[in-house]
Structures are given as structure tokens and as C-alpha cells.
């Protein structure tokens, strides 16, 4: 066991105050990783189990099975009725839920801190003893199809995202929708779910994160009691997904839909994610997204397209650093009413070209640096948010040491680093450009 004091701000000489966060981590004998984050302000604890298995780990033709299994994990086990897990959490005044990403599936409860052992006993139970009936599977399949309709089929913007990802990733499963393609979801079976469960739900494929009003020794004792007796899955193999080839051509997608009220253009580039002991490119991309698209009034795109040229009602840049294999860097423009998507895209391209010529405003760079540093103080206000940081990191190939180094890595980014990574990432051949439009606009374009 290693006990660490996480001093995120100590090394900076500026006026910002220092603040320390206590984080403890260990590994159980069966391979389950444990992270404990102390926050004693309120008698609350967040208990999370993160499995290192997500949408990008699904067998071919079974898209959506990771997320479907997440739903089914609330059904019966050997010792619990279907729905009993959530019922017990509610009786204890808690809330519980779960989520699936491309790289992880996580289950969490937020309860009074003296109920932690009860949560662990139930979570340990469903790690090994899930039972599924055909009835439950059939009904829940209807639920996930309703979920897909609500999140995707009813939203043209979400349909465009699906098409863009499918075009951007030519080989990696990040191109397959997390919730699944509808036709494959319709065919998912009880056996599909159970086989995924047996292959990947095991302590040596899981990370326990406990954040809140707890003592690390108590948490580790409880973890040994509840999770310790579960056998490791010795058949578990290292995660290896198909990787992307070198891209040779820019891709374009146009989605036309009656339900589009506000058209927009966006472009996604394949980008590197944080890698263990090698987080500097990702850190530079965090700065790049702030520089290009932070707030309208001070960002490169906002200033140029919204304020100066007045051709956009909004602009954005986005980047998520926490992915196992690859991330995306995203740019977008919602044009002003009388501006075409073509003109908006041309203005976006012109602004990126100008950015490569003029470089970074040093004052803007310093402001972003200050804000990123202050965010570490504000982040201490949410134990759950801190827990998520560790859970995401430990399920995307990073270590506790990487999480602790991240604030320093961010603070050591230079404008030159940002320009270097921008030149590497913002290449047309690495990108897909999407237009979201209504049919009447499509006609105008044809004329």
C-alpha cells in the first residue's frame, strides 16, 4: 500500500494558494485496484467500481453489448431480486447509476458514509453472481432501443455525430456507436450479455474508487472483506483493439434532415490522448482547444468569426484527453442566419490558416494557464468529480502517478508545444467534416 499526499499546486510561485488532497491507493491480492480520496466536509461517500471494458471492446457484430450489459446488471443475482440493488440504495437514502464509455463501464452509488460496506457487499455480489432471464433481457432490450431513439434517432445532431465517427475511424471500433447500431442492438441476446460478463467482469479487470468522508484503512479493510474473496479471471488478456491506418484523404459527411432548425458545420480530427508517462501532447491539446474555442470573447475562433467578421452565432473547439487509444479534436461553427455552411467552413479554414501564421497571443496563453491551475482548486469541491478523474485515468491506461503528474504537465506546456501539436493534429487528411442541414438549404446549395 502506498499513501500519497497529492499536492497539486505547491510548485508554482504565483499568488495562487496551495492545497493538498489526500489520495491512497493499493492493489488487492486478486488484482483489483483501489483508490481512496478523502473529503471530510460532509458525511457522504461515493462508491464506484470501474471495469476496464467498454464499447470499443465488443465482439464484431455485437455493437451495444457493453452498454446493454450495464443495464442488465441491475437485474437479479443469486441473492438479490431484479431491481433490489437500486431499491436497497434508495431505502438508504442513496442514489445509484452506471455509465458506459468506449473504454470503461462504471457503477456508482452516493450514500451516507456509514453505508459503504453495504454498497460493497451488493457490488461484489453482482460482479460474480448475475442471473438473467429471457423475459428481463427482452424487456430491457426494448428499453435500450427507446434510449437509442431518445438520444440518437430523435436528434439529427446525434445522427451526424454517428456518421462522422464512422467515417473518421476507418478501422478502430471508436467508429462504432457506443449505444450500438440499431440492427445489431435488435439482435443482442441473453447469451451475448452473459458471455461478455463472464469474460470481462472480474476483480483483476476492475478499479474500486471510493471518495468522501472515509478513512483509507477502513475502506481497504472493507474492500478486502467484500471484493477480496473473488477469484481473478486468469483468462483475461491485454486489451488490444484494431488500430488506425495512416489516413490518406479528408472525409466529408452531409446529413440533411427536416428536423434541423439550426444548421452547423463541424470538423473532427484524430488526435492523441494522454498516455502513461507521456502526457505532454495531450496537455498541449487541452491548451489548443482553449486557445481556439475557449470563451467567445477571448478565443481565436470566437473573436474572429463571432466578434470581428460576425459570420457565426457560436463557435467551439473540443478535446477530451482521457481515451485509451485515440481521441478526437473537434472544431465547429454555427453560422449566422444569412451565412451558408460553405462560407462558414471557408471562414473556419481561413482562421486556422491565420492561426498557423500569427501564433499564440502570450497574454491569452497566461490567462488559460491561470484558469487551468485554479480549476484544480475548484475541483476539490466535488469528491465525485475527483473520483471520476481517477476512475477514467485508471481505465484508460494511466496510473495514479500519471494523475498526480497531470497538473504539472499542464503547467509546463509552452506556446511552442501547442503550435507543434496543432501542426501535427490539424491536418485535413486526418479529419472528417460534417454539415448538418435542413432540406430547403440543400436545394439552395444545388441551385
Amino acid at each position: 500500500m502506498k499513501r500519497l499526499i497529492f499536492a497539486c499546486l505547491m510548485t508554482f510561485a504565483t499568488a495562487l494558494p496551495s492545497f493538498s488532497q489526500e489520495v491512497t491507493n493499493t492493489v488487492l491480492d486478486n488484482g483489483m485496484e483501489v483508490v481512496v480520496i478523502e473529503d471530510h466536509r460532509a458525511p457522504v461517500v461515493v462508491h464506484m467500481v470501474w471495469y476496464k471494458i467498454g464499447g470499443a471492446d465488443e465482439p464484431l457484430g455485437k455493437s451495444g453489448i457493453a452498454h446493454f450489459l450495464e443495464h442488465l446488471m441491475f437485474k437479479a443475482t443469486d441473492d438479490m431480486e431484479s431491481g433490489e440493488f437500486s431499491e436497497v440504495v434508495a431505502e438508504n437514502g442513496g442514489s445509484d447509476n452506471a455509465f458506459t464509455s468506449y473504454d470503461a463501464t462504471a457503477y456508482f452509488q452516493r450514500v451516507a458514509s456509514d453505508r459503504l460496506g453495504l454498497m460493497m457487499s451488493m457490488e461484489a455480489e453482482r460482479m460474480t453472481d448475475l442471473l438473467l432471464t429471457e423475459d428481463h433481457v427482452a424487456t430491457e432490450r426494448d428499453v435500450i432501443l427507446e434510449e437509442r431513439a431518445q438520444r440518437v434517432e430523435n436528434r439529427p445532431g446525434a445522427l451526424l455525430n454517428e456518421q462522422m465517427s464512422a467515417a473518421l475511424f476507418m478501422n478502430h471500433p471508436y467508429g462504432i456507436p457506443l449505444i450500438g447500431w440499431q440492427h445489431e442492438m435488435e439482435g443482442l441476446t441473453r447469451e451475448d450479455a452473459l458471455s461478455f460478463y463472464r469474460d470481462f467482469y472480474a476483480p483483476n479487470n476492475a478499479v474500486l474508487v471510493v471518495a468522501g468522508d472515509v478513512e483509507p484503512d477502513d475502506v481497504i479493510a472493507l474492500a478486502k472483506e467484500h471484493y477480496g474473496p473473488i477469484d481473478a479471471n486468469e483468462r483475461l488478456s491485454p486489451r488490444a483493439r484494431p488500430l488506425e491506418p495512416v489516413p490518406r484523404a479528408p472525409r466529408r459527411v452531409t446529413l440533411t434532415d427536416e428536423r434541423v432548425g439550426t444548421p452547423y458545420v463541424m470538423r473532427n480530427y484524430i488526435a492523441p490522448a494522454r498516455r502513461s508517462e507521456d502526457q505532454s501532447e495531450a496537455a498541449a491539446l487541452v491548451f489548443l482547444s482553449e486557445i481556439l474555442g475557449g470563451s467567445s470573447a477571448t478565443s481565436v475562433l470566437g473573436q474572429a468569426l463571432e466578434f470581428d467578421q460576425k459570420i457565426a452565432v457560436s463557435t467551439w473547439a473540443g478535446y477530451s484527453a482521457d481515451m485509451l487509444d485515440l481521441s478526437q479534436f473537434s472544431l465547429g461553427v454555427v453560422p449566422a442566419q444569412d451565412v451558408t455552411l460553405e462560407a462558414a467552413e471557408a471562414a473556419l479554414d481561413a482562421e486556422i490558416a491565420r492561426f498557423f501564421e500569427t501564433g499564440i497571443d502570450p497574454e491569452q496563453f497566461e490567462r488559460i494557464k491561470t484558469r487551468i491551475r485554479a480549476n484544480d482548486i475548484y475541483a476539490q469541491d466535488s469528491a465525485r468529480g475527483l473520483g471520476n478523474r481517477y476512475g477514467r485515468a485508471l481505465t484508460t491506461g494511466l496510473t495514479v502517478a500519471d494523475v498526480e503528474a497531470w497538473p504539472d504537465v499542464l503547467q509546463s506546456v509552452t506556446p511552442e508545444d501547442v503550435m507543434t501539436v496543432a501542426r501535427k493534429v490539424l491536418q485535413p487528411t486526418h479529419s472528417v467534416t460534417g454539415w448538418l442541414m435542413a432540406p430547403d438549404m440543400a436545394e439552395e446549395t444545388v441551385q
Partner: protein, 438 residues
């Protein structure tokens, strides 16, 4: 210890529910403003929550959307700074200031590092009492609002909200979307925006809470710094209005695979002695989580939806009981029938002793967990002030939940749940669902 603690044992433990452990102080500034404060010096920042009662409901009928547009302009130039300079000043301090507008309130949520308290206060003060409202900013933000209105016009969720509001509240401000219409927003002048600002932002309607690394004296000085220059009074509040949507089902045709439904009927005022019973009943019917009757019947048993919930609306000038869900077009008619049956069952049969006990356990156990995080606590404190509660409310609230008896609950169930007055607004192309009202 057992792998699974038997449920009975759990119930016994819970006979003594946790209490919310926040120590709320009342602070009066030298200038006469009052705030609630929770000191929390372990993290060097402060969450400051300011709310002005009234919000978008103060819109003049001929200037719909003016308050909404105005609230979007407060940080687009103020105190002699243009939008860029204002944002740069904020970013230099790593301060966040967010203005939001709702039917009943204009909210100002700010978060600043301890050492930047005064400079951050000056920025909030400038935005509230000295906004520029310059023409370039008005046109830019107007463009954003118009774009969002066009997006709403083809979003089935938004269409359903608007149809329900119009059906329930007609010409009252609650009957309209707070952002206005494309026509009304296009026609707004700078004078309309200045009037909306004078109407909405005044000392006679302000509620303040602070949580974090700040003392009572420091908060007193900060309040005067931020709000000292504001005018004493604003516009008179709108009248009360009854929820008056015609009962039955209306269908608004919209070409999309999944229909969206909203339901509504008259509700109950928060000051009503039966409100706690109503609150418990709604938790049983459609509260959050998987345990509610609606989630069990519509999702868990039949797979008809991804999520369904109901909620008590206790706005300043009306009360309603509402709900929402989405279902594939082919199955909407079945889902509506299930909800109607649940409404009837609740009105006629009420709840069981077990359901009441489970809901109480959930509500009393969950309540202390809400007081988690400076920003969250500040929001709760300001909400309690607006609802007219005392500072000791967090200490007595669970007792009030526990005091509701089965007899009371079932008397209130029969009054509150009115299947004969329940209105469904459905947007989509639901198969075989007959509209019974327009």
C-alpha cells in the same frame, strides 16, 4: 459479517436518520442586505449565489424575450469594459460568473478564489449595475437567441413544453417560452432591454447565499460592494394563475420516430400544510431513481421508455403536477394508457404502508447528502430563502417528512391526483392514439 445485510437490519439502522449538519448564519451587511452563510475554510474559494425574484415573468407582453436577451448581455460589456475586456478580467482572476434566466428568477452564480474576492465582486457589480448594452453586443446576442429559437422550433421536447405551457397558462407570462418568439426578439429595441434590466434587477427582490472561505464581515462588505449601487425597487410581479389545460390527450404532428409526451394537472402550493404529503406521493409516483411506480410500470415491466418521471412545480405564481417521457410512435398509445391507469390507481387506492415507509427512508436519507459542495449548498440556501423557510429548516425538514401519516397521505392522494383533469401533450406521429382535445 454477512455478505448481504438482511433488509430488516437495514431498516433498524435507519430508524435514526442522519441530519443535515450545516451551520447556517444570517449576515446583514452595513448597507442593510441580508444573506445566509456557511463558512467552509478548508478550500480557498467561495461560491456566491444571488437570485432576483421575477425573472422572465416580468416581460412586458409587447417585449417578449426582453429579460432573456438582457440577461445574456450582462457580461457582454460592463463597467467601461467591452465584452473582451470583461472576459479577460474574469479569466485573469480565474473567476467564473454565470447569469441564468428562468421563469421566476434571474440567477447570478459566481465562484472565486479567496484572494480575488474584492476584484471578483467588482466584476459582478459592474455586470449588474453598469452593463453597456452596446449595439454590437445586442446584435450578436440577438443572433444567438434567434438561432436557439429556430433550433427549439424543430425539437419535439421543446415543442411539447411550449404546447403544454400555452394550454395551461394561455396569455399569462407562464404561457410563453421565456426566450420569446422569432418575431418578438427581432423587434426588441435597446430601450426594451434597458427596461427589462430596470424591471428585473433591484434590491427589493434579491436573495443571497455564500458558502466557502469567507467570514461574516467579509461577506457583509462584499454584498454592499456587489449590490450597493442597485436601485431599490423593480417592476411589480405578475398575478397568480391556475393551471387550466383542458383534460385529455392532444397530438401535435411531428415527423420523428419517437413521440414525446408531457403530462400535467393542477398542483399544490409549497406553503400548503399538505405539501409534504404531496411531495412524498410524487416521489412514490414518479420521483427520481428506478423505484417509482411510473418507472416500474412503464420502463421496468413493459420496456416502453428509457425514462419517465413526474414532478411538483411550485412556481411563484402557479402550482402544477407534471411529468414527461418518450416512447416509440408505435407504443405511445399503450404508454399513455398505463400512465392514466397509474393516475387512477393513486387517486382511488392511495399508497401502501410499505410504499410510504420506503419513500420516507429515501427522502430522509437523501436529504443530508444534498449538502455536498460549496456551490451546491449555496444554491440550496438561496432556494430555501425564496421558498420562505427559516434557517433551521434543514434541521426540521426530515421530521416534517416523517410526520406524514398513511391516512394523511391517502387523503391527499385522492385530492392531488386528478385523473379527470390530467392532460397529455404528445408530439410525434403516435399510432392509434386518438386526440381528445386540441
Amino acid at each position: 459479517m454477512n455478505r448481504l445485510i438482511p433488509a430488516l437490519f437495514v431498516l433498524l439502522i435507519l430508524a435514526l436518520p442522519a441530519r443535515a449538519e450545516v451551520d447556517i448564519q444570517e449576515v446583514t451587511s452595513p448597507g442593510g442586505l441580508t444573506a445566509w452563510l456557511v463558512e467552509e475554510h478548508s478550500i480557498p474559494f467561495v461560491a456566491l449565489e444571488i437570485r432576483f425574484r421575477g425573472g422572465a415573468s416580468l416581460d412586458d407582453p409587447e417585449a417578449q424575450g426582453a429579460t432573456y436577451l438582457m440577461s445574456g448581455l450582462l457580461e457582454e460589456g460592463a463597467g467601461g469594459m467591452n465584452a473582451r475586456e470583461f472576459t479577460e478580467a474574469k479569466e485573469n482572476l480565474a473567476t467564473s460568473i454565470d447569469f441564468d434566466i428562468y421563469g421566476d428568477t434571474l440567477t447570478v452564480s459566481s465562484r472565486f478564489l479567496t484572494e480575488n474576492r474584492e476584484a471578483s465582486g467588482d466584476l459582478v457589480a459592474a455586470a449588474l449595475s453598469d452593463p453597456a448594452f452596446d449595439d454590437a453586443a445586442i446584435e450578436r446576442v440577438r443572433g444567438q437567441v434567434l438561432a436557439s429559437l429556430r433550433a427549439r422550433a424543430t425539437d419535439p421536447q421543446d415543442i411539447a413544453r411550449d404546447v403544454m405551457a400555452r394550454a395551461a397558462y394561455g396569455d399569462h407570462p407562464y404561457g410563453r417560452y421565456i426566450g420569446g418568439t422569432e418575431d418578438s426578439v427581432t423587434a426588441l429595441t435597446r430601450d426594451d432591454i434597458v427596461t427589462a434590466w430596470q424591471n428585473a434587477i433591484a434590491r427589493d427582490r434579491v436573495y443571497i447565499a455564500a458558502v466557502g472561505d469567507i467570514t461574516p464581515d467579509q461577506l457583509g462588505a462584499l454584498m454592499d460592494r456587489v449590490l450597493g449601487d442597485l436601485p431599490e425597487t423593480g417592476k411589480a410581479f405578475p398575478p397568480e394563475v391556475e393551471f387550466a389545460a383542458a383534460p385529455g390527450v392532444s397530438v401535435t404532428a411531428f415527423d420523428t420516430p419517437q413521440s414525446v409526451a408531457r403530462l400535467g394537472q393542477p398542483g399544490m402550493e409549497i406553503s400548503n400544510p399538505d405539501f409534504f404529503a404531496a411531495y412524498i406521493l410524487n416521489t412514490i409516483m414518479g420521483g427520481s431513481g428506478f423505484e417509482s411506480r411510473l418507472m416500474q410500470e412503464v420502463r421496468e415491466k413493459r420496456g416502453l421508455t428509457y425514462g419517465i418521471g413526474s414532478f411538483l412545480v411550485d412556481s411563484d405564481y402557479t402550482e402544477a403536477l407534471m411529468g414527461s417521457f418518450s416512447t416509440m410512435n408505435a407504443r405511445m398509445s399503450e404508454a399513455v394508457a398505463v400512465v392514466q391507469e397509474e393516475w387512477r390507481r393513486m387517486a382511488e387506492e392511495g399508497v401502501t404502508e410499505d410504499e410510504l415507509a420506503a419513500a420516507k427512508l429515501y427522502l430522509t436519507g437523501a436529504y443530508p447528502l444534498r449538502f455536498d459542495g460549496n456551490s451546491r449548498i449555496a444554491e440550496l440556501l438561496v432556494g430555501m430563502q425564496m421558498d420562505g423557510y427559516d434557517r433551521d429548516y434543514p434541521k426540521t425538514r426530515n421530521d416534517r417528512v416523517n410526520a406524514v401519516t398513511l391516512e394523511e397521505a391517502n387523503r391527499v392522494a385522492a385530492e392531488l391526483f386528478q385523473p379527470e383533469n390530467l392532460r397529455f401533450v404528445v408530439v410525434g406521429q403516435p399510432d392509434g392514439l386518438d386526440a381528445t382535445t386540441e
